[in-house]
C-alpha cells in the first residue's frame, strides 16, 4: 500500500469539507484511481466538480507541483496530488 495526499481547492474543497485528504492506495495506483477513491467517499454531486458527463476533466491535476497525466503514473508514498481549476480573470 502507498499513502498519498489529495489537496483540494475551490468548490471541491467546499463540497468535501477539507483542504486535504489522506488516502491509502494499492501499489501501482494512478491519479485516476486516487480520484475514484475520493469520489467513492464523497456525496453525490461531487463527481461533476471533477469531470463532466462526457468524461472530460473539469480540473487541472498536478503531481508534486508539476502538471501530470492522470492515467499512467504509478504513484508513490508521499506524493501530493493537487486538483485545481483554471485561473480565469475577473
Amino acid at each position: 500500500m502507498i499513502a498519498v495526499a489529495l489537496e483540494l481547492y475551490g468548490s471541491l474543497r467546499c463540497a468535501i469539507g477539507t483542504k486535504q485528504l489522506s488516502l491509502n492506495l494499492p501499489d501501482g495506483s494512478s491519479i485516476d484511481d486516487a480520484i475514484d477513491v475520493m469520489l467513492e467517499q464523497s456525496a453525490a454531486g461531487v463527481e461533476s466538480l471533477v469531470r463532466r458527463a462526457d468524461g472530460s476533466s473539469n480540473v487541472i491535476v498536478r503531481l508534486n507541483g508539476r502538471p501530470a497525466q492522470t492515467d499512467n503514473v504509478d504513484l508513490r508514498s508521499g506524493d501530493v496530488i493537487q486538483l485545481l481549476y483554471p485561473v480565469s480573470g475577473g
Partner: protein, 641 residues
C-alpha cells in the same frame, strides 16, 4: 423598434435644461445603445483637450441591452474623459441600475455642465427632476442612499452614487450602485463630483418590448441548469471571484509586495475558501442572474463591516491584501467597506498604497512625509488609515488621491520606477510576466491598464479544459498556447478575444455568463439578442461591434494626444519575479515591442502611431470619424477611398 426606447435623456447641469434625443433604428443597430453610444456622444460633442473635471466635460450613462431578462444582461456603462488618465473613462458595473433605467424608458443619459450647488437627478419613468443635494454632500454612499430613498418616499429607487472621494475629486473615485456594484475604474466618481452631482436615482415601472420574450426565458432557464458545465461558473457560484486567490498563488501570479513576487506563503489565509469559511455569510445576485457571485460578509471587532457594502472580491483581496502583504480577511473586508462607502476604486487605491509602502521601505518617503503613519507592508492600520486620508484628501492622503503616477512625479527620487501603471492607471491584480497576453491588455487599452480586455491566456494554455476550447471554436480559437509564450499566435488570440469582451461591454452583458469559459454559448448570445430586437443578429456582427468600440475608444484617446508611445508597460514588468513558482520570469522588452507592433498591423492601426487607419474606420462604418481625426496632431494615415 423592439428592445430599445429610442430615447436618451439630455441634462445640462449649468442651465438646468432637460431635453430628449431620439434615435432611429439604424443608430441602434450601429451602436446598440451602450458604450458605443456613449463614445459616439463623446466623439461628436466633446472637444479634444476638454478638462475632464471642467463644466464642458460630458458624462454618458447608458444601459445597452440591460433589462433583457437573461442572466448577466444587467450592466450600466459610463463614458467620459478620465481624470486619472486623461484618456478614456469607459467603465461598466453590474447590479440593478441599468435595468431600472431602461424600465423607466431611457436608453441613456448624457450630462454636461456643472450645477452651482450639489444636486441629484431623479428619474421616475417620464418625470425628470434636478433636486437639491446640499444636505447630502459629505455623506457616505450608504447614508446618501438611505436619505434619497427617504426623501423621495421611494424605497425601490436604484441609484448611481458618489461618496466623499468623488466630491473631493480623488482621481480614482468610483460610482457605486446598491453600495457594492462599482463603475470602479478610470475615476468616473470624480467626474460626478466635479459637476456637483451626488447621484442619479431612478425608478422604472415600464415594460421593455421584445420580439420573442419566450425564447429569452427559455435560454435563461437553460443557463441556470448548465452552470454546472463550467468549472469557472461553478466556483463563482460556490465562492465568488475570491476563489482565484489560491489558484493564482499556486501559479505564481498572485501580485504580492507591489508586484515584486507572484507568490506568498500566507495566501491561503486570504483565499476564497478561507473567506467563505470565516466571514462570508451568503451570496447576492445582480438583476435576474442565476449565478449570484457577490459575497456578503459579517465581521466583528476590530474590523466590523456593514454587510450592505458587500465583501471583497478577488481584485480587492489581492489589492488590499497580498499586494500590500496583509493577510487578515477581516482587515481586507474593512478596506473594501471604506472604499465602497467613500466611493473609491479598490484597485487603484490598493496599488497606490503598495507604491507608497515600497517608497517607505526604500526610504524615499518617511513618517515626516506621511504625517506620522508608518507605511509598512503588512500594516492593516496603515492601510485603513491611509484609505480614510485619501478619501478626504487629508495630509499625505491628498497626494495619494492623485494616483500613484502623479504622486511619484511629485516625490521623484526614482519612485516613478516603482509605479505599476499604464497611461497613469494602476494595473489590476494579474501578472503579465506569466500571463503574457495580459501584457498586451495592459499596454494597448484605451483606458489604461485593464484586466478585462479579454479572457485570460491561462484559460487557453496547455492545461485548458476541453470545455473552454470547444466553446472558443466559434471565434476561431482552436489551439492551446503555452502560457508564457508571446508570439504571433498569442497576438492573434488577443486580437480575437478582445473583440469578444469588447462586444460584451458594448452591450452591457456580464463576462461571467458567456462562453468560452462560462455557460451561455456565443451563438446563444446572438440568439437572445435576435429575440430581444427582432433583428437577425450574428456572432460576426457582435465581433465587429466589439472591434468598433475599441476603435472608437482608440480614436478618442488619439484626439487627446495619446499614441504608440503611451502603450508602454511599467518597468516592474520587465524585472524578474522573485520567488515562488514564477521565480525569474519576466517579459522580454524587445519581443514585447515587436508583438505590440504586430498587433497594430493585425488590427489595421498605423504601425508608427498606433492610431486606427482610415480604411479601418470605413470598414467599421465609422467614416464620419475621419474628418474629426484629421485635425489631430497624430492624424490617421490618409488613404484613398
Amino acid at each position: 423598434m423592439h428592445c430599445f426606447s429610442g430615447r436618451v435623456l439630455r441634462v445640462d447641469l449649468t442651465t438646468g435644461e432637460i431635453a430628449i434625443d431620439e434615435h432611429d433604428e439604424l443608430f441602434y443597430r450601429r451602436y446598440w445603445g451602450g458604450a458605443c453610444m456613449g463614445l459616439y456622444y463623446l466623439l461628436t460633442e466633446m472637444a479634444p483637450g476638454t478638462d475632464p473635471l471642467g463644466a464642458e466635460s460630458l458624462l454618458c450613462i447608458s444601459g445597452g441591452v440591460a433589462g433583457v431578462p437573461a442572466s448577466g444582461f444587467n450592466r450600466v456603462s459610463i463614458q467620459a474623459k478620465s481624470p486619472l488618465t486623461e484618456a478614456l473613462c469607459d467603465s461598466q458595473a453590474a447590479g440593478f441600475f441599468g435595468p431600472e433605467l431602461r424600465h423607466a424608458g431611457w436608453d441613456g443619459i448624457v450630462i454636461r455642465g456643472k450645477a452651482d450647488h450639489p444636486v441629484y437627478l431623479w428619474i421616475a419613468d417620464e418625470r425628470v427632476e434636478i433636486r437639491d443635494a446640499r444636505e447630502l454632500w459629505g455623506l457616505t454612499t450608504g447614508a446618501a442612499q438611505v436619505a434619497i430613498r427617504s426623501e423621495l418616499e421611494e424605497p425601490k429607487a436604484r441609484m448611481l452614487l458618489i461618496g466623499p472621494a468623488g466630491e473631493n475629486l480623488v482621481r480614482f473615485a468610483c460610482v457605486l450602485n446598491d453600495l457594492n456594484h462599482a463603475n470602479g475604474r478610470n475615476g468616473a466618481g470624480a467626474v460626478f463630483g466635479s459637476k456637483n452631482l451626488k447621484a442619479v436615482a431612478v425608478r422604472g415601472t415600464g415594460e421593455l418590448q421584445f420580439a420573442d420574450r419566450q425564447h429569452i426565458i427559455e435560454r435563461n432557464t437553460w443557463f441556470a441548469k448548465h452552470i454546472v458545465d463550467s468549472p469557472d461558473a461553478v466556483n463563482l457560484k460556490a465562492i465568488g471571484t475570491e476563489y482565484y486567490t489560491n489558484l493564482c498563488n499556486l501559479g505564481g501570479v498572485l501580485p504580492t509586495h507591489n508586484f515584486r513576487t507572484g507568490w506568498s506563503q500566507r495566501a491561503e489565509e486570504i483565499s476564497g475558501e478561507a473567506i467563505k469559511k470565516t466571514i462570508m455569510v451568503k451570496h447576492e445576485t445582480c438583476w435576474r442572474c442565476a449565478l449570484g457571485c457577490k459575497p456578503v460578509i459579517a465581521t466583528g471587532e476590530p474590523y466590523y463591516v456593514d454587510p450592505a457594502y458587500g465583501g471583497p472580491e478577488y481584485e480587492t483581496v489581492a489589492s488590499l491584501g497580498s499586494n500590500v502583504e496583509i493577510f487578515d480577511p477581516a482587515a481586507i473586508a474593512k478596506g473594501n467597506e471604506l472604499c465602497n462607502k467613500y466611493g473609491m476604486d479598490t484597485v487603484s487605491a490598493g496599488l497606490t498604497l503598495a507604491w507608497a509602502m515600497e517608497c517607505y521601505e526604500k526610504g524615499l518617503i518617511s513618517t515626516e512625509d506621511t504625517g506620522g503613519i508608518a507605511l509598512e507592508f503588512g500594516s492593516a492600520e496603515a492601510m485603513l488609515g491611509m484609505l480614510e486620508a485619501i478619501a478626504f484628501r487629508n495630509g499625505f492622503g491628498d497626494l495619494l488621491a492623485e494616483g500613484s503616477a502623479r504622486a511619484a512625479a511629485s516625490v521623484g527620487k526614482g519612485s516613478e520606477k516603482l509605479t505599476v501603471v499604464v497611461k497613469k492607471q494602476e494595473a489590476a491584480l494579474h501578472e503579465p510576466r506569466v500571463k503574457t497576453m495580459l501584457g498586451l491588455f495592459y499596454a494597448l487599452s484605451e483606458v489604461g491598464a485593464d484586466h478585462l480586455r479579454a479572457e485570460h491566456d491561462s484559460d487557453f494554455d496547455l492545461s485548458a479544459p476541453e470545455y473552454f476550447m470547444r466553446q472558443a471554436g466559434p471565434i476561431g480559437i482552436n489551439e492551446r498556447i503555452e502560457l508564457t509564450d508571446l508570439g504571433p499566435e498569442k497576438v492573434r488570440m488577443y486580437y480575437v478575444l478582445s473583440q469578444h469582451f469588447s462586444f460584451l461591454d458594448a452591450l452591457g452583458i456580464c463576462m461571467f455568463v458567456t462562453a468560452p469559459v462560462r455557460p451561455f454559448k456565443l451563438t446563444d448570445v446572438a440568439g437572445i439578442l435576435s429575440a430581444a430586437t427582432g433583428w437577425e443578429v450574428s456572432l460576426y456582427e457582435l465581433m465587429k461591434l466589439g472591434e468598433k468600440r475599441t476603435v472608437m475608444g482608440r480614436c478618442f484617446i488619439a484626439r487627446e494626444g495619446f499614441n504608440a508611445v503611451d502603450d508602454e508597460l511599467p518597468e516592474r514588468f520587465y524585472e524578474p519575479l522573485v520567488g515562488g513558482p514564477s521565480d525569474g520570469l519576466t517579459l522580454d522588452r524587445d519581443n514585447f515591442a515587436a508583438m505590440k507592433l504586430l498587433f497594430y498591423e493585425m488590427a489595421g492601426w498605423d504601425p508608427a502611431s498606433g492610431i486606427p487607419q482610415t480604411a479601418k474606420l470605413h470598414e467599421l462604418e465609422l467614416g464620419w470619424l475621419v474628418p474629426l481625426m484629421g485635425e489631430r496632431p497624430h492624424a490617421v494615415t490618409e488613404v484613398p477611398v
